[in-house]
Amino acid sequence: MTVLGKFWSKQTIIAAISAATLALSGCAASNALNEEDGAAADSSDTVKVGVLHSLSGTMAISEVSLRDAELMAIEEINEAGGVLGKQIEPIVEDGASDWPTFAEKAKKLLQKDEVAAVFGGWTSASRKAMLPVFEQNNGLLWYPVQYEGMESSPNIFYTGATTNQQIVPSVTWLLENKGKSFFLIGSDYVFPRTANKEIKAQLEAEGGTLVGEEYTPLGHTDYGTLISKIKAEKPEVIYNTLNGDSNVAFFKQLKDAGITADDVTVLSVSIAEEEIRGIGTDILTGHYAAWNYFQTTDTPENEKFVAAYKEAYGDDRVTGDSIEAAYMAVYLWAAAAEKAGSFDVDAVKEAAGGIEFNAPGGKVTIDGDNQHTYKTVRVGEIQADGQFKEVWNSGEPVKPDPYLETYPWAEGLN
Amino acid sequence: MQPILSCRDVRVSFNGFQALQGVNLDVLPQEVRFLIGPNGAGKTTLLDVVCGKTKASDGEVLYRQTENIRKLQEHEIVHLGITRKFQAPSIFANLTVWENLELSLKQKRGLWSVMRAKMTGEDKGKMEAMLLRIGLMEQRHNLAGMLAHGQKQWLEIGMQLMQNPEILLLDEPIAGMSETERHKTGELIHEISETCSVLIVEHDMEFVRNFSKQVTVMHEGKVLCEGTMSEIQQNEQVAEVYLGRRESAC
């Protein structure tokens, strides 16, 4: 055997191959991340933005539609001439329903692609994971989903509702129209627990009574026991913050137990048009949901929006609150950039306050103080065709108040 | 002479089946005792009880007349000096012959002691002597799984001997061995008995005849009779249940 042959013993070869694979695999991963780099050369006439949602994993069910709406808005703006004379170039990333991945991809979008803004996220967990990344890199995140409030990052714009634009008015509406005794059910995670804490304070202040509060683990599918608790307490209203699949099991089993919309009013805050289809309209008919937008909302902008969305993605697709919020987020950012005359994050943030936009769900305005938006609140009744019939709205856009500072009863909450 | 191992009315039942129905047996120091009997007589079960693999439902197993080992765990029984060789070779196939012997060294087997253990010259000497004795010196760096069947049996016997046992339990040690290997094994057993007692389960009557002094016959979970091979052969009861049927085979 030659000296060389001796040197290349089994183990050294393993180690060498290891090192090589290591380098290669690292490159493979980073090449994929770099694939947009080629386009960076002609950055003079385009501006890059990130679109970061879960395209795989459990959350893909909900988030894919948001990506679709954002890409549609980008295309519309580009067709109308772009922003500040530049075409918007979206860079789509997959958060994979995994919170560290959201943070990782956000970092990539900001550091590598140097995007002007990122539209993304759904779960609070993903937003919380991205928040430090945006703050440390001074990026701009547009988060389009209703959430539990108690947050106001200078680097995030919130185009979904905070609690006083969805939960608080809907509780008041229920107290005035449906009954005083409330049973709160929710999935066991952050949004329901925070929302219910606020509802309890509000009930106390506005003369309602709390007869029960229950949480079930995510993915829970047997509601027999919970329903017998509901039966024992005989509430007039069930306020539902269950998430995803649990809604299906809950509503099916509620109906089987002989409880219909005539006996108890169930108001949900996470069931939109898309979810109705997975649960089945027959068991949901007559129950309520509170949102800022329904596919049936009667505005000229919405007519155009729904038609365009179906045109782009198929007749069988439905829109919904978060989809609309994602769509308008792109327009709001574009308007803010136009006003600022620049894509610079600080300039856009500065200019954003007071920006108005006629969204499909009605006029929205960015609140310069907390970076949320003024939105009209709506309560709808689910119809047999899977659409909502609006039964109440707030009449005018409600000022966002993520910390519920203007509500005396909320004082002890934070 | 005081018996080193005494079984007193040992009973074992498996889901209602009485495998041992009150066995009494005494083994003297440095005795070679053969256990014979038809299939299902409870020979292997008795070895299992002595080594702790099977727990007796009743009775006593006394070591040196005083210590009842019936409820001890297997490794605790080994610590007393009772070791067992199984019927199928139970060596560690993915370790080398040398490593198999290393684990068998008489040593403190607690985690902490083993962690600090170092291979001393004395240990090495002992292991090399054993390799010579069992004829596996050349194969010492081979994986034990690669050995021939007979060699595996020898390795396992070697592993038991490394522990300097007081009592050695052997279950059909010559199964699958060639004629010369059998003879060698028989001689080895007698060599061993100079330092310890040996309790052997064996089916091969010729082997028993050639190498036994005391034989115990078991039948249906009980001891039928005891004595030398020639005494046994004259016992009519034995002939009836066992030898009678096997006469032609022997």
């Binding site: 070869i13 290591l22 690292g26 980073s30 994929a32 928040l131 934070n414 | 199984f86 560690f92 684990l103």
Partner: protein
């Protein structure tokens, strides 16, 4: 120094010098993968060497990460109540949080708490001689218990959001690239040290007892060893490694949530060791890096295909590469050497080059 050692040294030096040839972003990824490699080392010890398949290592990883995250959260809160507790309606810091304001306690706990829990679980199950798939399934049940608890006790753990939004570690800003490079290098050093420790263990007499336990636990008893204590030891050690990896993970990634200690991440951890080669420590490290790189690549380029690819990977490794990449390489190498011995030395040099 023999060649084997030289090879390993080269490997770890190459990793250590990562900051020289990797961009900041890629370095962060690699740092994360190397944390996973530490977990894979622990899995290799218990599974490859001792034959215990744990489907619950996500819990130990998570516990370690939470311990350190609690310290980071308290440091970020700067003497006040952590933000999530405030909006969960907690008025005072729970007593069990208090000691975690000390970084030494927190990091110590990130090793010891997983080890302790593993020891308790291991002692009970191993003493009762529950093993094989039964142990694996029970370890999965333990995951369910911990994940459900961590999600439900939102006011103590941050619920599904987990703990995030940290600022400093020992006063150094976690956002600073220099700190991240230092953390990366620390990860490489700790990985190297864990590797050395694991290698020393497997080459010692204890290591041979562990292999013997894998091949025949009952036979080990008849050599006078009590397998329970050995299994409990190696299982706890492996849990401590996972906890340590969790600490390094949370420092670099800045986030831990119950989703990362669930059943799916726990099984993926086993896959890392399986792909690299369950009997090989270096294989475990390679497996963790390769699988996760592939995950980054695939989930990026073809998000839908990732889970099919992952599924196929499980099947292929089990059916065709039971000893993983390193095992496949070794058997290829053996064949090659046999052929070489037969074919003489003339073409030996060629085959080395090719």
């Amino acid at each position: 120094m023999d060649k084997k050692k030289l090879g390993y040294w080269l490997f770890f030096i190459a990793l250590f010098l990562g900051p020289l040839y990797l961009t900041e972003f890629r370095l962060a990824l690699m740092g994360k993968f190397l944390c996973f490699a530490i977990v894979a080392l622990g899995i290799c010890l218990i599974w490859g060497y001792t034959g215990i398949l744990s489907l619950g290592h996500g819990v130990y990883f998570g516990l370690g990460a939470y311990c350190t995250a609690m310290y980071l959260k308290l440091e970020a809160a700067n003497g006040q109540l952590p933000d999530f507790m405030e909006w969960s309606g907690v008025s005072a810091l729970p007593a069990f949080w208090v000691p975690f304001s000390n970084p030494i306690f927190a990091i110590g706990a990130s090793l010891l708490i997983p080890a302790l829990i593993a020891a308790i679980l291991g002692f009970l199950t191993f003493k009762n001689r529950i093993k094989g798939v039964y142990f694996s399934l029970i370890s999965q049940a333990v995951v369910v218990v911990f994940v459900t608890l961590f999600v439900a006790k939102q006011d103590w753990t941050g619920g599904t959001n987990g703990l995030t939004n940290f600022t400093t570690f020992l006063g150094f800003s976690l956002a600073s690239p220099l700190v991240q490079i230092a953390l990366y290098m620390m990860t490489v050093i700790i990985l190297g040290a864990s590797f050395a420790l694991a290698a020393a263990l497997t080459n010692s007499r204890v290591g041979r007892v562990l292999s013997a336990v894998r091949d025949g636990e009952n036979r080990v008893r008849f050599l006078g060893f009590n397998p329970t204590s050995y299994k409990v030891f190696v299982y706890s050690l492996s849990a401590a490694l996972a906890g340590l990896a969790g600490t390094l993970f949370v420092l670099q990634v800045g986030l831990i949530s119950p989703a990362m200690m669930g059943i799916i991440p726990s099984i993926e951890m086993v896959l890392w060791a399986a792909v690299g080669g369950r009997h090989s420590l270096i294989g475990a490290i390679l497996g963790a890096v390769i699988v996760n790189s592939a995950k980054s690549f695939f989930s990026e380029a073809y998000p839908d295909i990732w889970s099919i690819f992952l599924g196929l990977l499980f099947i292929i490794v089990v059916m065709f590469l039971p000893n993983g990449i390193v095992g496949a390489f070794e058997s290829w190498n053996e064949k090659r050497e046999k052929a070489k011995r037969k074919g003489g030395t003339a073409d030996a040099a060629d085959s080395v080059v090719s």
